[in-house]
């Protein structure tokens, strides 16, 4: 046991930990723990009241047991007791237990909230810090509700200690992340921005984190932080390393603060003010220069801190994307890192260059490093670095180097780690398609992909090659010849058989003139693979055979014999058997004309976005791939694909394919061939729409949703806190909807605030018919979310999902209250707290007409008393009303002319802060 003499040792705890460590086996450990748990439980339950020390010790033991990975289901009350103690060590352990064990157990949180409140008010910085830490750790809604308004006050109060300010800033940051709606903006925001000027660098660091988070959500409110951040940054980068004393980290001046300031600046575009902008450019240049200086220390910490600032500066340069000079310099400096001996730097340089490649200014500069990146792909020992090299090659690829890059990626694929093969396959497929000038190259590349990494070629990739071959006449003959040759290989991947079967079935005739690939040879070649393939591939081959019968009447007999054989006609698989039977029948009874019509060459597919891209995006999660593709179009002037897609989207989608998709009965001859391209309908995408939603702020009736299939109308009425909504579902099609069902979902918070009860609805809606459903609504307390109506039904075999936001808003439950003007202003003054008032100034679109406004406001069920108080402006009047749940909303609408433009000012005062959001929308419709 180590001899730590600091603080108080809890001997009992140390003995227990030693015991556990001495356990020879897992069983012994569990036994020892169970014994201890039983002991602690009996102590906690015992008649004798425990003293603080014992309680602390036992709670600590529980914590230790929990950290070993065992579940703890008691001791919370004792921890709450400790937390409320006056003794620091007890309090500290109590807080620790809560922050480690409690996630958001609401019962308990109510209990500790009280203790936290006391500690926050204690003016003892140590206690305040403990309390703030606890709030930040648990961060639940209940806590946010209880403290979100206190913490800003602590943060900006003049007499708050620095360390408490730091905690308060970060605590607020955390609450803003978990429940942004509960953190009220107010006059404190301006004062927070000024913390960037604080003497204490620790306070500045914490404040910068907070401001960055807030600025991401509402950039306009924190615009003033830009100039302060630039000034601060400039002071740091020009300071000598000793100036900042302990904030200098291994000879680097305040790296954490610098990085945070640079991150804050990334929330904004480049400053418009010329002098500010040049000052920032100077800062960035200084950072780039400093990175080139010889190191002041050999320690890795020095280089890490220095380069951390450099990478963040480069991230800002890329974000601004406006200074070609800086971009090219950044690229060159990253280029030096590509061959650095530190693996970390090579990794980061590759990653950072990926984003540089997307800027038109630095794209060319990035391209000069292609050889280094390719050699990284071949020689790096670390797979994560190789992965970054692949990403960068993908990002720097354009028409000029696409052949080289695709070739390198293909050759790397042969030895690539299994974990990244699929991604490389997708990337190669996308690049090959995007930069194909001549489509024979594209076909070759995809066939190579299948040859090298057939198992990793997903369906999307081989669907796409077929789609492209069908749509491009110029490549069909070449494709047929190439797949024919590829199929000669003794062992070929099943994906190749699929592509080969499909293409020869469509375009085999284009190579049939050559005796080496006569119809019979083609058929025999395909059929030699048949027995090695899985059922779906066999089904595809059968379809290819029937197409052969149409293309080449001379092999009809041979193919009919195959179809007639027992292994087909009596196949155990229903699908195969059915195909064999039907194709055989079709070939016997149909005349050549009918056959030719039924088995006609596939019409071109409507151009759609490559599903490969979608797949890659999904694989990559939220990473930066999508932007890259968008922005790069400009760089290369390579937009023809986008244009193609646009043209195609204007052409009405092909009825032939659509019809087949809808009734995809297996009997329809080419169903598999067609189905291959439809999104398999099992996962019906949910359609959601709220375009009609805003109209319902003032209206109660109307159409809330409409698409080609379904129209949803609403009629609603409200009285006091109750509402009834009639929902009408209209079937616009000529087929009935089956298994029609609806459900109303509300999020957890809304559930407790609003009851929505739905009456059952008929599961069948006949063609052209309309059915009605009644929803009963009860408003329990004020709310700000909206319930969602989910509709599900079957239309022609496919499942449709629709989600519609129901226009149930708080204002529907408003009730007017008439009152005298004195009363009104008296009440107005009582509601003076900043979070109780919201004010909005907006340009009026129309001439203000008192009657019209009144009518609009009345439709919101607001009572009013006219011409109140001294009219400062052309027109001023006020409305107030009281809702059913005993709080009051006062609304004041002013209009005034500002430089001959009519402007309105809407002020609303109200009691519960939660109303804030609603009120601003009430304000909008008042104009």
């Amino acid at each position: 046991m180590p001899a730590v003499s600091k603080g108080d040792g809890m001997r009992g705890l140390a003995v227990f930990i030693s015991d556990i460590r001495n356990c020879k086996s897992k069983e012994a450990e569990v036994k020892r723990i169970n014994k201890e748990l039983a002991n602690i439980r009996s102590k906690f339950k015992g008649d004798k009241a425990l003293d603080g020390y014992s309680k602390k010790k036992y709670v600590c033991k529980l914590l230790f047991i929990f950290l070993l990975g065992h579940d703890i289901d008691f001791g919370h009350m004792e921890a709450v007791n400790l937390l409320s103690s006056n003794k620091y060590t007890e309090k500290q352990i109590g807080y620790l237990f809560i922050s480690v064990l409690v996630n958001s157990n609401s019962e308990l949180i109510r209990l500790i909230n009280n203790a936290i409140k006391n500690d926050l008010a204690s003016r003892n910085p140590t206690f305040m810090n403990l309390a703030l830490h606890c709030i930040a750790n648990v961060g639940s809604r209940e806590m946010a509700e209880a403290f979100a308004s206190d913490i800003p006050r602590i943060l900006v109060a003049g007499d708050t200690m620095d360390s408490v300010k730091q905690s308060a800033a970060l605590c607020l940051l955390r609450l803003n992340r978990t429940s942004p709606d509960l953190v009220p903006m107010g006059e404190w925001t301006a004062r927070v921005v000024h913390l960037l000027n604080d003497q204490h660098l620790g306070v500045v660091t914490a404040a910068t984190s907070l401001i960055t988070t807030l600025a991401q959500k509402s950039p306009d409110d924190f615009k003033t932080s830009v100039s302060l951040a630039v000034a601060r940054l400039s002071r740091i980068v020009t300071s000598a390393s000793i100036d900042l004393q302990d904030y200098t980290y291994y000879f680097v001046a305040a790296p954490w603060l610098s990085v945070k300031l640079l991150r804050l600046l990334q929330c904004y575009p480049p400053p418009e003010d010329a002098s500010l902008r040049s000052r920032l450019t100077e800062c960035l240049e200084t950072i780039l220069n400093k990175a080139q200086e010889p190191p002041k220390s050999k320690k890795v910490q020095h280089s890490n801190a220095k380069n951390a600032v450099l990478f963040e500066a480069i991230a800002l340069i890329i974000h601004h994307d406006s200074e070609p000079n800086l971009l090219v310099r950044a690229c060159n400096q990253l280029g030096q890192f590509l061959q650095h001996r530190e693996t970390n730097l090579r990794y980061l340089a590759l990653e950072s260059m990926c984003t540089l490649a997307s800027s038109e200014f630095s794209h060319e500069a990035v391209k000069t490093h292609i050889e280094t990146v390719i050699s990284a792909l071949k020689t790096e020992r670390d797979v994560s670095v190789r992965q970054r090299a692949v990403d960068l090659l993908y990002a720097m690829c354009d028409r000029s180097n696409s052949k080289q890059i695709v070739a390198e990626m293909l050759s790397y694929l042969e030895t690539a780690d299994y974990s990244i093969r699929e991604e490389i396959v997708l990337k190669v497929a996308i690049l090959a398609e995007k930069y194909a000038v001549d489509y024979t190259w594209y076909v070759d590349t995809i066939l190579n992909l299948i040859r090298i990494a057939g198992d990793y070629v997903s369906e999307e990739v081989w669907y796409r090659v077929i789609q492209i071959v069908i749509n491009r006449d110029d490549v069909q003959g070449y494709a047929a010849k190439t797949v024919f040759e590829a199929l000669q290989a003794p062992a070929c991947h099943e994906n190749l058989v699929k592509v080969g079967g499909y293409i020869l079935g469509e375009f085999g005739n284009l190579i049939a003139g050559d005796p080496r690939s006569s119809p019979l040879v083609q058929f025999n070649l395909l059929h030699s693979k048949f027995h090695l393939c899985s059922v779906p591939t066999r089904a595809l081959l059968l379809s290819a055979y029937i197409k052969f019968i149409n293309l080449f009447p001379e092999v009809k007999g041979t193919i009919q014999d195959v179809l007639r054989s027992d292994s087909q006609l009596r196949n155990a698989d229903v699908e195969l058997q059915q195909r064999a039977v039907e194709y055989l029948r079709l070939s016997c009874i149909a005349s050549t004309d009918i056959l030719a019509t039924v088995l006609e060459e596939m019409p071109p597919f409507p151009e759609r976005e490559s599903s490969i891209l979608a797949k890659l995006k999904k694989k990559k999660g939220s990473s930066k791939l999508p932007d890259m593709d968008d922005s790069r179009k400009n760089v290369n002037g390579n937009t023809e694909h986008a244009e193609d897609a646009e043209v195609a989207s204007k052409v009405p989608s092909h009825t032939f394919t659509d019809n087949l998709n809808v009734n995809s009965a297996p009997s329809s001859g080419a169903s598999l061939l067609v189905d291959v391209f439809s999104d398999f309908s099992s996962a019906a995408p949910t359609e959601s729409s709220d375009e009609h939603f805003p109209r319902f702020v003032c209206k109660n009736n109307g159409v809330i949703y409409e698409n080609q299939l379904l129209q949803i109308g609403l009629k609603s009425e409200y009285r006091q806190n109750l509402g009834r909504m009639y929902v009408f579902y209209g079937n616009k099609t000529s087929t009935q909807f089956q298994s029609f069902s609806t459900s109303v979902s509300s999020n957890d918070v809304l559930c407790s605030q609003l009851n929505v009860q739905e009456k059952p609805v008929d599961p069948l809606i006949e063609a052209g018919a309309q059915v009605q459903q009644i929803l009963n609504i009860e408003c329990v307390s004020d709310f700000s979310d909206t319930p969602v109506l989910n509709i599900q039904f079957r239309y022609g075999g496919t499942l449709q999902n629709i989600a519609v936001k129901l226009p149930v808003m708080l204002n529907k439950f408003f009730q007017p209250t008439e009152m005298m003007s004195q009363d009104f202003f008296q009440r107005w003054k009582q509601l003076g707290a900043p979070q109780q008032e919201v004010q909005k100034i907006f340009k009026a679109k129309n001439q203000m007409d008192t009657d019209v406004t009144k009518a609009k406001v009345n439709s919101e069920a607001l009572g009013q008393c006219e011409h109140l108080g001294p009219s400062v402006t052309d027109l001023s009047y006020s409305i107030n009303m009281q809702s059913d749940f005993s709080f009051m909303i006062l609304l004041l609408l002013w209009c005034f002319y500002e430089s001959s433009q009519l402007t309105s000012l809407c002020s609303v005062a109200f009691t519960p802060p939660a109303l804030r959001f609603r009120c601003s929308s009430v304000g909008r419709c008042g104009s």
């Binding site: 603080g7 020390y53 990975g69 060590t89 500290q92 360390s163 954490w256 890490n304 951390a308 693996t343």
Partner: protein, 153 residues
């Protein structure tokens, strides 16, 4: 920052700190994945791993692995230095810290971390100030200490 984990070469968890609310089950899953993933890394590979939508930044100090899960836009190199700063603080407090110190004084390891990081953001980067804060809270407990003479159990 989403989480900080400390585990030994044998994969025994020594400290866990979570900066977002997630369920116990999810935590256990992440811990398992992190230990297997990080322990399987070869020497002299880079200290960053892309994992789902997070970056994992890890570093080994003697027998302990320090492993951070940070958001995508976070600076990896500074995350490494956060780890280093924490190690320095532990070192200063315990005097050449070793795994045993953290096992037997796990609560202190938490307190030190809390002085340094909060809500997943760095709170105080100055080593002096953090050390002073830790010392003063130790002072606080010694002056209040009245149970030193209590018997051990």
């Amino acid at each position: 920052m989403r989480f900080l984990l400390l585990f030994s070469r044998q994969g025994r968890l020594r400290l866990q700190k979570w900066y977002t609310a997630i369920s116990e089950r999810e935590k256990k899953k992440i811990i398992r994945e992190m230990t297997t993933m990080v322990l399987a890394r070869q020497p002299r590979t880079c200290n960053f791993i892309q994992w789902k939508d997070l970056k994992i930044v890890y570093k080994r100090y003697a027998s302990l692995y320090f492993c951070l899960g940070v958001e995508h836009e976070e600076n990896e190199l500074l995350a490494l230095e956060i780890i280093h700063r924490y190690v320095e603080l532990l070192d200063k407090y315990f005097g050449n810290v070793c795994e045993l110190d953290i096992i037997f004084n796990f609560e202190k390891a938490y307190f030190i971390l809390d002085e340094f990081l909060m809500g997943g953001e760095i709170q105080e980067t100055s080593k002096q100030i953090v050390n002073r804060a830790i010392e003063s809270s130790d002072m606080l407990q010694e002056t209040m200490e009245e149970y030193m003479s209590k018997p051990a159990f």
